[in-house]
């Protein structure tokens, strides 16, 4: 058609879209000349939008007519018969093929869908699958698509046969494989499903098994995968040539070592005379580059270069070190901290901006973030700054844990029965990292009001200060009916001074005012209490000195998985107080990795409380108790140890001056949440007891129990402890409490 100047543009056949949309993508407008070239361009650009089935140009006088046929939209699509492969896998495949409600329908989608589904079934060992697609037209230029799948049987690996292996048996080698021949005893076995990637992975595992044991010349000559004609069984045969073992003749270092050679040599566990092992070589190289990155060489490249000497089958191993340039940190950024202020995170940093990069400092910073009570997880990434070769940004990605636990209304604790409590604890008040908690309690036995505020960074260096105020009236009892009332009011101020990355000391003082009231006449007070009151009186004002030293290398404060906590504390009343009492505790927590995801936790404590100077009886409320979910589970809260007299009237637990217990837990990785950041399931064995005097201790008297415990860090109620314990050989008179539940308890 001969060219003309466009006066106006009209669209014909538009249904869903507007003329505006066409005009946006049309390369020509009013006033342009339409000729073959611009006509072609117009059609091509409209096609490229993918919105139209076909496009044609027409002319009415000087008006350019654009005939378009919009592509039908997909009204609906369903798949039937796909039992084995469902869910996201299939949806993603369909979506990537362009099959989505509302998307535009193109014929090419049909075979893409067919191909994609068939490929997925082949990848999962369904070699017998048949996939058909059907298209049906629906009103309004829309189509609905039906995909029919006949799955057929899955091909299982009948046999994996390794030919040519002498040094190690087939069984030993197949152990390193993830793929396995199908085994009638394994019911839900999925490892007999053939998958090419998995086989490649297994071959990798096979060759590193040999390379890690010195067979440097090991080679997988060929691999055959054969399918039986009925497409039911798969036979894998792997032909290998082992070659001989190689021993290390010498270990040298080459390149710019930065650190001295014997320090590096200690990092590599291979030396002359050892059988060569690729694993040791690569791990040695890794340890060297880690060490280098602690001195700013973040991008050090350390490579083990084995030189084989075939005749005497020895290897000259040289470690080539290229430190790269010394790297500086440009910026440290945090992301994911919606509720935490930047400074609260930045003060945990052991790495400074504008300073030499140190991997150990960055890793230590990450662990310090992960240990914050209000941080569930922290990951770090070091990104080179584009355009420079020695500047990096360090980016910490944190996921916040609900910091607060508001707990109102009903609380339940083994010892005090139902208690009406209202407590608020917030471990990240206003995002400043301060821990604030206030609680009000009232139940049958006691009424109390308490508040505490901890600022972990009273000074920039991290000296923490805790202010704690507490008033408590408890009638009748500390435990059951030993028959006396107490009113105590305490105020304390404690500081924590860090001595090193892992150790800090605790120093502080506290004022304590206590009054005891007994009811000797209505003989509802036990002899022990009366004895004390006679000896020491009923009103005491004490000034307490609190000291202690804590070494904490755990990787998290809640649900830690590595490291240990040692906590030695000594609180004693300063001479001149009414009572001279001291309490010394040693608490020990150790995490022991056992095997892959399995690890154990040991929680032990030894405590002594006694009088000194002219106080020889300690007040009943200072005595130590044991039993219950915090010490020996399976026994009612605080019921272990000596009983008060006279037996017939009371026989209630009266606590003791010496307490020792240990909770040994084996943590089972729960399938639902493998990183057990907010839940923990464990089987445990607890043992311990309370003795009146230190020298009353007898191993025979120790009570123990075993059982299963579940701890869950709830979004609002803080930590929930649930345990079911079976006491071992309980003595007559022990009060048992197999099922115990505690929640809302702070930590």
């Amino acid at each position: 058609y001969e060219s003309f100047v466009i006066e106006d543009i009209q669209a014909v056949g538009l249904q869903r879209l507007e003329i505006g949309t066409i005009l946006t993508y049309l390369p020509v407008t009013n006033g342009d000349e339409l000729n073959d070239r611009t006509g072609q361009q117009a059609i091509r650009s409209l096609y490229q939008t993918g919105l139209f089935e076909n496009v044609a140009l027409g002319r009415d006088g000087d008006t350019l007519l654009i005939y378009v046929e919009e592509r039908p939209a997909i009204a609906s699509f369903e798949i039937e018969g796909n039992k084995k492969i469902k869910g996201e896998e299939v949806d993603e495949a369909m979506e990537s093929a362009g099959l989505k409600q509302g998307e535009l329908f193109r014929r090419v989608i049909l075979d893409q869908v067919q191909q994609e589904l068939t490929r997925q079934y082949y990848a999962n060992g369904y070699y017998d699958v048949k996939v058909e697609t059907e298209v049906e037209e629906v009103s309004d230029n829309r189509v609905s698509i039906l995909v029919k799948v006949t799955e057929g049987r899955v091909a299982k690996i009948e046999q994996i046969n390794i030919v040519g292996n002498e040094a190690f048996s087939d069984a030993e080698l197949l152990d390193t494989f993830k793929l396995e021949a199908s085994n009638v005893f394994k019911f839900f076995q999925r490892s007999d499903r053939y998958s090419k990637q998995q086989l490649l992975g297994d071959l990798e595992a096979l060759s590193s098994y040999y390379l890690d044991r010195g067979y440097l010349k090991f080679n997988v000559d060929s691999v055959q995968v054969a399918l039986t004609p009925d497409k039911k069984d798969i036979y894998v045969s792997i032909n290998v040539s082992e070659g001989q073992t190689y021993t290390v003749s010498s270990l040298e270092f080459a390149g710019d070592l930065i650190l001295n050679e014997d320090y590096l040599r200690r990092l590599v566990l291979l030396d002359a005379g050892d059988t060569f092992s690729r694993k040791e070589a690569t791990e040695g190289a890794e340890r060297i580059s880690d060490a280098l990155s602690n001195f700013g060489y973040a991008f050090a490249d350390v490579r083990p270069l084995p030189e084989l000497n075939e005749d005497d089958r020895t290897v000259k191993l040289s470690m080539y070190v290229d430190p790269g340039s010394r790297v500086y940190v440009r910026r440290i950024n945090f992301s994911g901290n919606l509720k935490t202020q930047d400074e609260t995170l930045r003060r945990e940093m052991r790495q400074f901006e504008g300073a030499v990069f140190s991997r150990a400092a960055v890793e230590r910073s990450r662990i310090r973030l992960a240990r914050l009570a209000f941080v569930e997880d922290a990951t770090v990434e070091t990104q080179p700054v584009p355009g420079t070769d020695d500047l990096v940004d360090v980016i910490f990605e944190i996921t916040e844990r609900p910091p607060g636990s508001v707990q109102l209304g009903v609380g339940f604790s083994g010892s005090q029965g139902f208690l009406l409590t209202g407590s608020v604890t917030h471990s990240n008040f206003l995002g400043t990292g301060n821990r604030v908690s206030a609680s009000v309690e009232s139940n049958e036995f006691s009424r109390s009001i308490a508040g505490s505020w901890t600022n972990p960074y009273a000074t920039p260096e991290g000296i923490s200060r805790t202010v704690d105020l507490r008033y408590r009236e408890s009638e009748q009892v500390v435990r059951f009916s030993s028959g006396f009332d107490t009113n105590t009011a305490t105020a304390s101020l404690t500081y924590g001074f860090p001595l090193s990355e892992y150790t800090s000391i605790r120093l502080g003082g506290g004022l304590e005012a206590v009054t005891i009231e007994t009811f000797a006449n209505q003989n509802i007070t036990s002899n022990e209490v009366l004895e004390f009151v006679v000896a020491e009186g009923t009103k005491f004002y004490n000034l307490e000195l609190r000291t202690g030293i804590i070494r904490d290398t755990r990787n998290r404060t809640i649900f830690a998985t590595r490291g240990a906590l040692h906590r030695l504390t000594l609180d004693l009343t300063v001479p001149g107080s009414d009572l001279q009492v001291f309490k010394a505790f040693y608490n020990f927590q150790q995490y022991v990795p056992i095997y892959k995801g399995l690890f154990g936790e040991i929680n032990a404590s030894v405590g002594v409380a006694d009088g000194y100077g002219d106080t020889d009886l300690i007040p009943p409320y200072e005595r130590l108790f044991a039993g219950g979910s915090r010490s020996v589970r399976g026994y009612r809260d605080g019921t272990l140890g000596p009983r008060d007299t006279p037996r017939n009237l009371f026989n209630n637990p009266f606590g003791g001056k010496f307490r020792i217990y240990a909770q040994n837990e084996l943590i089972i990785p729960t399938p639902l949440e493998t990183d057990n950041k907010s839940t923990r399931l464990s089987v445990f064995y607890d043992i311990g007891n309370v003795f009146n005097e230190v020298d009353d201790f007898e191993t025979g008297e120790l009570r123990s129990s075993y059982g299963i415990a579940y701890t869950w860090f709830t979004p609002f109620l803080g930590v929930l402890d649930l345990s079911y314990a079976i006491p071992v050989g309980p003595e007559q008179g022990d009060e048992l409490d197999r099922f115990q539940l505690n929640f809302g308890t702070g930590f």
Partner: protein, 366 residues
């Protein structure tokens, strides 16, 4: 027929109307554990009056054809998976651990053992003093018949995914013809291993590895200068056995094998249909699909009829005229992985549970 579980269901057997052939078991013996549940190419070997058979756990036995008397039994450590093949006064076996084993035919004593580094999944053959064996990784090796020393090796790398099983090498004069997993057939000189000719039977086509399987697993058949071959990729091709030049080809997918009698070629296809084709043109004369998907073996010619074994241990007799089922017997309970062997009036079958049976078929007296 919504997406049923099994795509191809084995056909149900219907009673044989007018049986024309009835079978009588002459003797039946047990050969160890049979194939121990795994795929294997173990078959009976009949030499004059002796029948040899092996199992997958290393047991080999020899019987007299007459009444099946046991001549000798040999228990070894080998994991036999193919054979025995016939040698000069020795029998040849292939193992899963990549070994070829020669046992003395008379005493059963081991003569030699050769390591060929890959599973030997087809019965080795012997031409004068050369033993030829082939392995799953696409190699054909020539060994010294007396010592087992390697003399030559022919290699074609096998495709990543193949069909389990290999066609046996076939001797013709001083050449050996082998059907490869690459879809080719090659003729080698037995003494030197040189390639005499190589012919493509079927080109791999299709997108997935599965659609590209073209193994020539069906047993090769030589009859008066013509070589009958079939590829699982879907072609049945007849070549000149001397030059390898193609005579005719038609599409038919088979992994078992063929039989020939007069001007008719009988073949079992991959879906268990038995076909009769005109030997000259390849045109189909009749096809029998009542035994579809029953894992049928290669058909064998026996006293004027066709015999096929199936996956439940049945033997079916078909009339060569129209393929009608004219007889049936069940010598064993378990699948027959290889075709029955015929010697004179006798039929020998080895089932995968280790049953070795000798049968005789006789026309039904009217």
């Amino acid at each position: 027929c919504s997406g049923n579980k099994v795509v191809n269901k084995p056909a149900e057997l219907t009673a044989v109307e007018r049986a024309e052939l009835q079978f009588e078991r002459v003797w039946s013996k047990r050969v160890g554990a049979g194939t121990a549940g795994k795929f294997a190419a173990l078959a009976p070997l009949i030499v004059d009056t002796r029948v040899f058979a092996a199992d997958a756990k290393g047991r080999v036995r020899a019987f007299d054809t007459g009444a099946g008397a046991t001549l000798w039994t040999q228990d070894t450590e080998y994991r036999f998976v193919a054979g025995p093949g016939m040698g000069a006064d020795q029998i040849l076996l292939g193992t899963l651990d990549g070994e070829v084993v020669a046992l003395d035919a008379v005493t059963g004593e081991q003569r030699w053992r050769a390591m060929v580094d890959a599973e030997v999944l087809a019965a080795p053959v012997q031409d004068r003093n050369r033993v030829i064996a082939r392995t799953v990784d696409g190699r054909v090796v020539g060994l010294d018949a007396d010592t087992g020393d390697a003399e030559w090796e022919f290699t074609r790398t096998a495709p990543a995914l193949t069909l389990r099983g290999l066609s046996n090498p076939v001797l013709r004069g001083s050449s050996v013809i082998v059907g490869l997993d690459t879809g080719h057939v090659v003729s080698l000189d037995t003494r030197t291993g040189e390639v005499e000719w190589e012919q493509l039977i079927r080109e791999p086509t299709g997108r997935s590895e599965l659609e590209r399987i073209v193994d020539v697993d069906a047993q090769l058949l030589i009859d008066d200068g013509r070589l009958f071959t079939a590829s699982y990729g879907g072609e049945l091709v007849v070549l000149s056995a001397i030059t390898g030049r193609e005579i005719w080809r038609r599409n038919l997918r088979s992994y078992t094998g063929m039989a020939i009698q007069g001007d008719q070629l009988y073949v079992t296809d991959a879906e268990g249909k038995v076909w009769a084709l005109d030997v000259v043109t390849g045109a189909a004369i009749w096809d029998q699909s009542e035994l579809a998907f029953r894992g049928l073996t290669q058909p064998v010619w026996y006293r004027g009829n066709l015999i096929v074994g199936d996956y439940e241990g049945y033997l079916h007799a078909l009339s060569p005229a129209d393929g009608r089922i004219i007889g049936r017997t069940r010598p064993a309970r378990d699948a027959m992985l290889t075709a029955p062997r015929v010697q004179g009036e006798r039929l020998y079958v080895l089932a995968s549970d280790g049953t070795l049976a000798a049968l005789e078929g006789a026309p039904v007296s009217r």
